[in-house]
């Protein structure tokens, strides 16, 4: 039988507030274990939580960017369960009245735009981190993460494939990074994704039994895990079996999902309103202030880049992949570079250097103004495009300005006619064969001769002038 996959995503992102959601401890990642802790995030007797206003603002900003309605009145709830990483043995979360609800984002898969509904986005606290030794039978708990603000974002079951799930995660991450409310770093655990996957006969409207896939460490892992889970469920259904509602963990090494917890052993979380916190009231004025502070979002910027700079949809997509990259591009253009060459240099040589060195554009030593200066040197004929590649490498390594590199290394392009005429004459005289070929109609030979001239000038010759002068010389 043919099936449709029905997929909903639950994503937890750590908000990048400086302090935790209910106390003033730092949220710095990778601090020595149990150093960013206090009685509140350790759940010691007598402590009370106090809401971090920034965490609410970041959540509202995310909700607005996800086209959600912001609740005028919401509340925090206690989610009760016992686990050593949970300091109070309840997590302060939101149950029936989330801060943000009823939104959507658009994703593009294979050139087609699809709208994914956002059911809700709610604020909660992160747990500590358990570590287990394989040998000693000892478990350690690092409470540095305990109480870091988390936003849980839940979609409608609108996703139909692993590709769409991947696109959703990519777009969600891009939006949250643009907002600067989370760094969405999966390796550091600041973004965690779970997928609810079920199958139903193609074209039918009901829902099949779903499984919840957890423990995925990367977007590509999510893609693989969903593909695996779809195939696994299809096999069960095709052979007349029934899918068990359960939580399944992704085993990246073996490339399979493994049963972790069935519905029968599911927790009864005994939610009830958190009496230690007052209800969250976000009035229209506060929401409006947050809305006014939102940056231009990736989709809007993508469209503007095409309209304002005449970029192709693909180029605009690459350049708006991150807010920093888009900012860099716009700063380069603002500093006097043409949009097209700026796009080509950034997406080409610069991007290759960044990837090779594993650097984000924010840490690039080539200031956008210097890149613009380099492009201007090409435009005004001071240097050739070929030389520019070497200069950019030097800029990337040293952070020096292109003019100082050009001056220090004598790389200024030769545009002096008498000097170029001397080189052209030498090349014509020294390569009678190709000259003969060209004159006999082999136009390709011109390229070889230009190359020889460039070589003779150690790359400094103005290639446009060389080209013209060679043609003139060969006509004679």
């Amino acid at each position: 039988m043919e099936y449709d996959a029905v997929i909903g995503m639950e994503v937890h992102v750590e908000l990048s507030t400086a302090s935790k959601v209910f106390c003033s401890c730092s949220t710095q990642f990778n601090a020595p274990a149990n150093t960013n802790v206090c009685p509140v995030c350790l759940g010691m007797p007598g402590v009370l939580p106090v809401m971090n206003r920034k965490a609410v603002e970041y959540s509202v900003a995310a909700g607005l960017a996800l086209n959600c309605t912001i609740s005028r009145w919401s509340k925090m709830d206690r989610k009760n369960y016992f686990y050593p990483d949970l300091a109070k043995n309840y997590q302060i979360s939101q149950y029936d009245l989330p801060l943000c609800h009823g939104g959507w984002i658009d994703i593009r898969v294979g050139g087609v735009t699809k709208r994914i509904g956002i059911t809700r986005a709610h604020l909660e606290e992160d747990t500590a981190r358990n570590t287990h030794t394989l040998s000693g039978g000892v478990s350690g708990i690092d409470f540095n993460r305990s109480g870091v603000a988390l936003l849980e974002i839940v979609t409608e079951p609108d996703i139909s494939s692993a590709d769409e799930a991947f696109a959703y995660l990519t777009e969600l991450k891009r939006i949250l990074q643009y907002l600067e409310v989370s760094d969405c770093n999966m390796e550091e655990g600041s973004l965690r994704a779970e997928a609810n996957v079920s199958l139903r006969p193609r074209g039918s409207a009901g829902f099949g039994t779903k499984t919840e896939v957890k423990n995925v460490a990367s977007f590509s892992g999510v893609h693989k895990a969903i593909d695996y889970e779809i195939a696994r469920q299809r096999q069960i259904l095709d052979s007349g079996g029934t899918v068990v509602q359960e939580t399944r963990g992704w085993d990246a090494d073996r490339g399979i999902t493994v049963s972790q917890r069935t519905k029968e052993s599911a927790h009864d979380y005994r939610y009830f309103p958190e009496p230690d916190l007052v209800p969250l009231a976000v009035d229209e004025a506060w929401e409006a202030r947050i809305r006014a502070s939102l940056p231009e979002l990736p989709q809007a910027r993508w469209r503007r880049f095409q309209e304002a700079y005449g970029l192709s949809p693909y180029d605009a997509e690459v350049l708006t992949a991150s807010r920093a990259m888009a900012d860099y591009f716009e700063a380069t253009v603002a500093a006097g570079a043409g949009a097209k060459p700026a796009a080509n240099w950034i997406m080409g040589d610069l991007q290759a250097l960044l990837v090779k060195n594993g650097l984000p554009v924010e840490e690039c030593k080539v200031a956008s103004g210097e890149l613009a200066a380099m492009i201007r040197l090409i435009d005004d004929g001071t240097i050739s495009g070929k030389i520019a590649k070497d200069i950019l490498l030097e800029m990337f390594d040293t952070g020096q300005s292109p003019t100082s590199i050009v001056e220090a290394k004598g790389l200024i392009q030769i545009s002096d006619e008498s000097e170029l005429e001397r080189i052209v004459a030498e090349v014509v005289a020294g390569n009678p064969g190709p000259v003969e070929d060209f004159r006999n109609g082999k136009e390709k030979a011109l390229g070889f001769l230009v190359g020889q001239a460039m070589k003779a000038s150690r790359g400094k010759a103005n290639p446009k002038m060389i080209n013209e002068m060679l043609l003139k010389a060969l006509e004679n």
Partner: protein, 489 residues
């Protein structure tokens, strides 16, 4: 000349220290000596901080000597219920599960009292995790009522009330979730006030039921109460539920005048079931106030019958979550009889929580469980709103409501321990007050024929502790009996 400074009220002692009649050290020593003399019989203290108290007193004396303002309670010895976090000594809530636990911080109210020049004498006994009405649920010891050592001091703040009654401290700190300040104050014949929910910070008060818990003092008289409230009340950035409503100078409310006061008497409280000396003494007190010009009207609190049921759903639900953290992972007792984490949880709790605490955790877990939540917890929250509205309507007709604090005087030790429901009923007049979040005070209104104190409860509108103090002060000036002091032994 050495005097019995421990017999003085806090305000009299403060004046004596301030004008040089005595010193903070001498006053503190007087109380420490008193504790040594009588606490073997009363057993109010679970821990006496002799050295620490004298050091604190020396600091206060040094400040006074330098001519500094040492605070409104300079040199006044204070006892602290073991439910408050203190850096000094241990904080155990009189539970075995927290035996030896040392808090890394002081409760906000402890900080405030210390900043006001108060001297801490030590920690006072209580029912384990403030659950109980007789202090018999303490895992540490039994406290005896100073008026009759065979009787309970009430609870859960029984140690605090007994310490005041026995002159073992000038002010005692307590907490009140369903009557835990007022009922023991009534049993021991002292003044005990539970302020409006949100008046006093709960930071550092080990939580029993967060939406009901409130901090309050025990004092020897009304002026001490006003002075202490001045120190304790006010918004605390560490407690989001603490109120920003401005705090008045409560001593200005101590006016001997009830001429324009209307007293409400709830019909549902003065039924035939209320009898004996308690009814006689409370009605006599009402007559005193009526004689001073107060108007007395009958009011109705129609949802009174549901209060105990609602209370035991809400408080146990909140307690089941609040006490979940005592799991042996980070602090407190960890059972050595465990092979895995689940056994560690179950055994640590089973071995160390007392039966009343276990009962309430189980009740609370049950009422929050899937399938029962709507019938119990949600319903109880709705009825709580009705109870709150009862008081709102009643206070449209009166300024204060007067009731007995407790239907009976202090009962005998061991008398009700076998029947938890009977024990719960001793809080029948106090529980609604927490549900309605309003202020309530108990003050003595006489002794029974057998010489046990009777408590008069004065209830006020939200954040109107001033009128409660004013009515209490006026009654105190004109009361028709000699309270005297208990003979201990």
């Amino acid at each position: 000349m050495s005097r019995e400074w421990y017999k003085l009220t806090a305000h009299a002692l403060r004046e004596a220290v301030r004008n040089g009649e005595t010193t903070a050290v001498e006053a503190t020593q007087s109380y420490l000596d008193r504790i040594k003399a009588v606490d073997g019989k009363v057993q109010a203290y679970i821990d006496v901080w002799e050295t620490h108290a004298l050091q604190q007193a020396e600091k206060v004396d040094a400040r006074l000597k330098r001519g500094e303002d040492a605070g409104p309670l300079a040199g006044v010895p204070i006892g602290v219920k073991d439910v408050f976090c203190t850096k000094q000594g241990t904080t155990t809530c009189c539970s075995k599960i927290l035996k030896g636990y040392r808090s890394p911080f002081d409760a906000t109210v402890v900080e405030k009292l210390e900043a006001a020049g108060g001297i801490f004498l030590g920690k006072l006994n209580m029912d384990e995790f403030a659950m109980g009405s007789s202090t018999e649920n303490s895992a540490v010891q039994i406290t005896h009522n100073p008026w009759n050592l065979e009787c309970v001091p009430g609870g859960s703040s029984g140690g605090s009330a007994a310490a005041i009654a026995a002159n073992e401290c000038a002010i005692a700190l307590g907490s009140d979730t369903g009557g835990s300040i007022r009922q023991p104050a009534a049993c021991c014949g002292c003044v005990g006030l539970k302020p409006t929910y949100g008046r006093v910070s709960r930071y550092g008060l080990v939580a029993f039921a967060s939406s009901l818990d409130q901090v309050g003092p025990f004092t020897k008289d009304m002026r001490d109460m006003a002075l202490t409230l001045n120190v304790l009340c006010g918004q605390d950035p560490r407690d989001s539920t603490s109120s920003t409503i401005p705090v008045p100078d409560f001593t200005r409310a101590l006016r001997d005048d009830v001429s324009n006061i209307t007293i409400g008497l709830p019909r549902e409280y003065y039924t035939d079931a209320l009898g004996g000396d308690v009814r006689v003494r409370v009605e006599a007190a009402i007559e005193v106030l009526r004689g001073l010009g107060a108007k007395v009207v009958e009011v109705s609190l129609p949802h009174t019958d549901y209060a105990i049921a609602v209370y035991y759903i809400i408080c146990t639900a909140e307690a089941s979550a609040n006490l979940a953290r005592f799991d042996g992972v980070r602090y407190g007792y960890r059972s050595p009889n465990a092979n895995d984490v689940r056994e560690m949880y179950v055994n640590s709790k089973t071995e160390m929580f007392g039966p009343e605490v276990q009962r309430r955790i189980m009740l609370g877990t049950y009422v929050l469980s899937s399938g029962y939540y709507d019938a119990y917890y949600l319903k109880a929250q709705k009825v709580r709103t009705l109870i709150r509205q009862d008081f709102q309507r009643a206070f449209e007709q009166c300024d204060v409501i007067l009731t007995p604090t407790s239907p009976t005087p202090a009962f005998k030790l061991g008398e009700k321990t076998a029947d938890p429901l009977e024990m719960y009923l001793s809080d029948i007049y106090t529980i609604s007050v927490n549900l309605a979040s309003i202020p309530g005070m108990s003050m003595p209104c006489g002794l029974t024929d057998s010489g046990l104190p009777v408590g008069l409860q004065v209830l006020g509108k939200p954040f109107d502790e001033e009128t409660v103090l004013r009515v209490g002060y006026t009654y105190e000036q004109h009361r028709d009996f000699e309270m005297g002091a208990p003979e201990i032994g």
